[in-house]
């Protein structure tokens, strides 16, 4: 079952990376958002990954714990609750009484690099699925 459960593992990787990419894109889109429905500037979000056993609909409940492979999942979405960045812009509509505007603490360059990383990891998971499909097909070919 190693090969088939591998599909679940890589699928979990793809889901996790996609969730991470979505958050990064949201961060980038809101890098300058000073006003949110909850009040205050946009706060950066990050996904926390955790290792979790990959479930496969084909694996039986008798499959031992040792045999269950390590997939990944998003354990939590962490919101950056640090004090926002304050910039002096007295004319800004969201300026406070001292003329400071609260901006999100986001470094677009950093998140852009992270996004590239997420894309690359996503691609690696896709490659893994492709590889195992090939191996399964070759196993079937042993019947020819």
């Amino acid at each position: 079952m190693s090969l088939f459960s591998l599909l679940s593992v890589s699928a979990s990787g793809m889901s996790a990376q996609r969730a991470r990419a979505e958050l990064l894109v949201e961060n980038l889109a809101n890098a300058e958002t000073t006003r949110t429905p909850e009040g205050g500037p946009y706060r950066r979000k990050d996904a926390v990954f955790t290792t979790q056993p990959a479930e496969s609909p084909f694996s039986s409940i008798f499959e031992s714990q040792l045999a269950r492979p390590d997939g990944v999942g998003v354990a939590d979405v962490v919101v950056d609750n640090r004090d926002p960045e304050r910039r002096y812009l007295p004319g800004h509509p969201d300026a406070d009484k001292d003329g400071y505007v609260a901006f999100p603490r986001i470094n677009p360059a950093e998140d852009m690099v992270d996004l590239m990383g997420a894309t690359r990891s996503y691609g690696a998971n896709v490659a893994a699925i492709s590889s195992v499909k090939d191996m399964i097909q070759r196993s079937i070919d042993l019947l020819r």
Binding site: S10, Q17, T51, P69, S121, A124, S131, D141, L142
Partner: protein
């Protein structure tokens, strides 16, 4: 039936499957904090397989650990992914050949 070389090939295919599964887990957890790259000692496990022992998962050595405790190298895992796939390809072709040869051996006599 299919002992000897074919038996070894089957063990080889088994180990490659296990290794590929670990590679997939490593790739899926490439960004998980604290995750350490898993692997098997292929040569040792291949010898152990003859004795019928199940493979033993170990932590891969020689990898740099990043700030979040993760030491997965996508380059290494991608390379292993391709390599394992190729080896599986070769082994399964050799195996198919073994089976065919044996079939011919069995049926060839009936042509007389």
């Amino acid at each position: 039936m299919l002992d000897g070389l074919a038996g070894k090939l089957e063990q080889y295919l088994d180990l490659l499957s296990v290794r590929q599964r670990l590679v997939a887990s490593n790739i899926a957890n490439a960004d998980t904090p604290g995750y350490k790259t898993q692997d098997i000692d292929f040569q040792t496990e291949f010898q152990n397989a003859a004795a019928g022992l199940a493979p033993h998962v170990i932590e891969a050595s020689g990898l740099t650990v990043r700030n979040d405790g993760n030491n997965v190298s996508i380059d290494r895992e991608s390379r292993l992914l391709a390599e394992n796939g190729l080896r599986f390809n070769i082994a399964s072709n050799l195996m198919r050949d073994q089976i065919r040869t044996l079939k011919v051996a069995i049926n060839g006599g009936s042509g007389s």
